[in-house]
C-alpha cells in the first residue's frame, strides 16, 4: 500500500531524511518511532504530498507522490502534529468543509461527517465552536478530519500528544479499530504506544532507519540472552562471586543493598541457556534467603536507547 524507496530530504546542508526505504502492507498499522527531530514528520509530509523529496521515490495506494500528487492526496487522511483547525468554525461546519475539499460527493457528505463524528466520539460536540473545545477534543476533531473521506491510507503524526491517559487509551482503541479497512502510519516517541497499537515498527534516528520489525521480534532479536533479576538476603560481594561462577553467566551487576540485608543483582546469561534453576540452587545451598528470582525481558525502551545511541558517540539522547 505504501512503498518508500531511498527517500532523502535535505534542507540546505541538513539531511533530515537519509535514504530510507520501507513498505507498509494493506490494513497494517506501522509505528514510526524516534526521538524528536529524527525525521518522522518530514517523512510523513513527503508521503502526504505536503513537500517534495530531494531524491528517491514513494508510492501511496499505487500512485507516485511526486507525479500523481492529487491522486495520492485523494487517498490519504492526514493528521499533522498540530491539528489544522479553524477556531471560529463549529465542529460540524469544519468537517463539512474538509469533506468538500477532500472530494466527498455531495450526497454522501452528511453521512460521512456523522460517521467521522461517531468514530472520534465527538457527536455531542458537533455544534460547539472549535475554539471552545479542550485540547483533547481538538485532537479528536483533528482525527475526525483525517477520517471524514474514508481514505485508504491514514497518516497520524503524534496522535496522542496532549491527551490525558483516559483519552490516550480511547484514541489507541480507535486507531486499532481502523486497522484492516485502512492502512495506518502513526508516529510517536512514546514507546508503549508502539508495542500496544502497531503491527510493525520502524525505528528512525537522525534520518536513518535503525530497525524495522514487529515489536515482539525486536524485543527478542536484539538480545539473544536473558536478563534475570535476583533478590536475596546475602553479603553483596559473596553473592556477586557466587553468581559469576555459575556456567553460562556472562555478567553480574549488583544494583544495591537494602538496610534489611537484601541485595538485588541483575544477571545476564548467554543465549539459549536458562540459569535460573542453578541460581536458585546455589543461593539456597549457601543458606541465604532467596526473595525474588525472575526473568526480565528487554523493553522496547532498552532497544530504542541501544539502537539510537550505539552507532555514534555523539548521538543525541532521546527525550
Amino acid at each position: 500500500m505504501i512503498e518508500v524507496q531511498d527517500l532523502t530530504k535535505a534542507y540546505g546542508s541538513v539531511t533530515a531524511v537519509d535514504h530510507i526505504s520501507f513498505t507498509v502492507h494493506e490494513g497494517e498499522i506501522l509505528g514510526f518511532l524516534g526521538p524528536n527531530g529524527a525525521g518522522k514528520t518530514t517523512t510523513m509530509r513527503i508521503l502526504t504530498g505536503y513537500m517534495p523529496a530531494t531524491s528517491g521515490a514513494a508510492r501511496v495506494a499505487g500512485f507516485d507522490v511526486s507525479n500523481e500528487s492529487l491522486e495520492v492526496r485523494r487517498n490519504i487522511g492526514y493528521l499533522p502534529e498540530t491539528p489544522p483547525l479553524y477556531p471560529d468554525m463549529s465542529v460540524e461546519t469544519y468537517l463539512d468543509f474538509v469533506a468538500r475539499i477532500k472530494n466527498v460527493p455531495p450526497e454522501k457528505r452528511r453521512e460521512r461527517v456523522s460517521d467521522a463524528l461517531e468514530k472520534a466520539r465527538i457527536t455531542d460536540k458537533r455544534t460547539e465552536l472549535i475554539k471552545r473545545l479542550s485540547r483533547g477534543y481538538k485532537q479528536r476533531v483533528g482525527l475526525a478530519q483525517a477520517l471524514v473521506h474514508d481514505p485508504r491510507v491514514i497518516i497520524l503524526d503524534e496522535p496522542t500528544v496532549g491527551l490525558d491517559p483516559k483519552q490516550i487509551i480511547e484514541v489507541r482503541h480507535l486507531i486499532k479499530g481502523l486497522a484492516g479497512s485502512h492502512t495506518i502510519i502513526l508516529s510517536t516517541h512514546i514507546l508503549p504506544e508502539v508495542s500496544m497499537t502497531c503491527d510493525r515498527v520502524v525505528i528512525i534516528n537522525k534520518g536513518k532507519i535503525a530497525a524495522v520489525d514487529t515489536p515482539r521480534n525486536l524485543t527478542a532479536q536484539l538480545k539473544g540472552g536473558q536478563k534475570i533479576r535476583v533478590e536475596a538476603r546475602a553479603p553483596e560481594k559473596q553473592l556477586q562471586e557466587l553468581l559469576a561462577r555459575i556456567p553460562g553467566v556472562n555478567r553480574v551487576q549488583i544494583e544495591g543493598a537494602r538496610a534489611d540485608g537484601g541485595v538485588t543483582a541483575t544477571v545476564e546469561s548467554a543465549p539459549g541457556q536458562d540459569v535460573r534453576s542453578q541460581i536458585a540452587a546455589k543461593v539456597v545451598e549457601k543458606g541465604w534467603g532467596l526473595y525474588e528470582l525472575r526473568g526480565v525481558s528487554l523493553s522496547l525502551e532498552d532497544i530504542f536507547l541501544e539502537l539510537t545511541t550505539e552507532d555514534s558517540a555523539d548521538a543525541t539522547p532521546p527525550n
Binding site: R73, P84, I101
Partner: protein, 262 residues
C-alpha cells in the same frame, strides 16, 4: 471546481463569523456617507454662491453639479480603499500558515489555483457587498437632480472603484502569502498601495515620457478616467493584467511554501 467553491464558501463564512468584516464594512460606510454628505453640501453652497454672483454680473455659468459631486466622491473614495483592502486581505494566507491549516489545504486533493481563486473571489465579494449600500446615495442624488446626469458617470465610477479594489486585493493577498504575520502583511499592503499612489502623484505633472510611463503603471491614474465616466479599453486591459499578475504570483508563492522549511 468543487474545491474552488469549498474554499470560497469557507472564506465567506469566516469573514462573517469574525468581527473584522463588520467593523471594516461599518467604518467604510460611515466614512463614505460622511464624505458624500460633505460633497453634496459643498455643491449646494457653491451653487448658491454662484447664483448670488450671477445676480450681480449676469450670465449664470452652466455647471453640472450632480456630476461634479459624483466625480469628487469617487476620486476621494480610493483613499478609503487604500486603507481598507489591506484589512480584508492581511489574514487570508498569513493566518492559515500560522494556524497550520495551510497543511490541510495543501494535502487535500485541490490545486493551489483553486485555493487562490477561491480566496480572491471571496475577498472581492466582500468588497462588493461593502460598496453596495453606497449605490443608494448616488441613486438618491440622481433622482433629485434636474436634469438627471448621465448614468455612465455612476456606472463608470463603480467600475473603477471595483477594478481598483480588485487590484489592491490581489496585491494584498500576494503580500499576505509571503508572511505568517498578519500585521506585517497589512503593513506591506499599505506600503504597496501607498507606493502605487506616490508613483501616480509624482508623475502626475511630469510631461516627460518617464512620467507618462509611471502614470500608466499606477492603478490610480487609470482610476481617474473611470470617475469621469470614461471606460477606456486600455485601462480595462491594464487592470485585468494587474489582477492576473498578482493572482498568478500568489499561486506561485503558495506553491513555493512546499519548498520552504516549514
Amino acid at each position: 471546481m468543487r474545491g474552488f467553491y469549498a474554499v470560497y464558501r469557507k472564506e465567506m463564512g469566516q469573514y462573517f463569523v469574525s468581527p473584522i468584516a463588520y467593523v471594516v464594512v461599518g467604518v467604510f460606510l460611515f466614512l463614505s456617507a460622511y464624505l458624500f454628505n460633505f460633497f453634496v453640501n459643498e455643491a449646494i453652497r457653491q451653487a448658491l454662491q454662484m447664483e448670488a454672483q450671477s445676480m450681480r454680473y449676469g450670465m449664470p455659468p452652466d455647471i453640472d453639479m450632480p456630476s461634479e459631486v459624483m466625480r469628487a466622491f469617487f476620486s476621494s473614495l480610493w483613499w478609503f480603499i487604500l486603507f481598507i483592502t489591506p484589512m480584508l486581505t492581511m489574514g487570508v494566507y498569513a493566518e492559515e500558515r500560522k494556524r497550520g491549516t495551510m497543511e490541510l489545504l495543501m494535502t487535500s486533493p485541490i490545486t493551489e489555483t483553486q485555493v487562490v481563486l477561491g480566496k480572491f473571489l471571496a475577498s472581492l465579494t466582500l468588497f462588493a457587498i461593502m460598496l453596495l449600500p453606497t449605490v443608494s446615495y448616488l441613486i438618491f442624488l440622481l433622482l433629485h437632480s434636474d436634469p438627471m446626469p448621465p448614468w455612465r458617470v455612476l456606472l463608470g465610477g463603480y467600475a473603477g472603484v471595483f477594478l481598483l479594489g480588485a487590484s489592491l486585493l490581489a496585491l494584498g493577498a500576494f503580500l499576505s502569502s509571503l508572511t505568517e504575520n498578519q500585521i506585517i502583511a497589512a503593513l506591506l499592503s499599505f506600503a504597496g498601495a501607498f507606493g502605487l499612489l506616490l508613483l501616480y502623484m509624482g508623475a502626475r505633472d511630469a510631461s516627460s515620457t518617464t512620467g507618462q510611463v509611471l502614470q500608466y503603471i499606477s492603478p490610480i491614474g487609470h482610476y481617474e478616467d473611470f470617475t469621469r465616466g470614461i471606460v477606456d479599453t486600455s485601462s480595462l486591459i491594464y487592470y485585468a493584467s494587474f489582477i492576473f499578475l498578482f493572482v498568478f504570483l500568489t499561486v506561485r508563492s503558495v506553491d513555493s511554501m512546499r519548498w520552504r522549511r516549514a
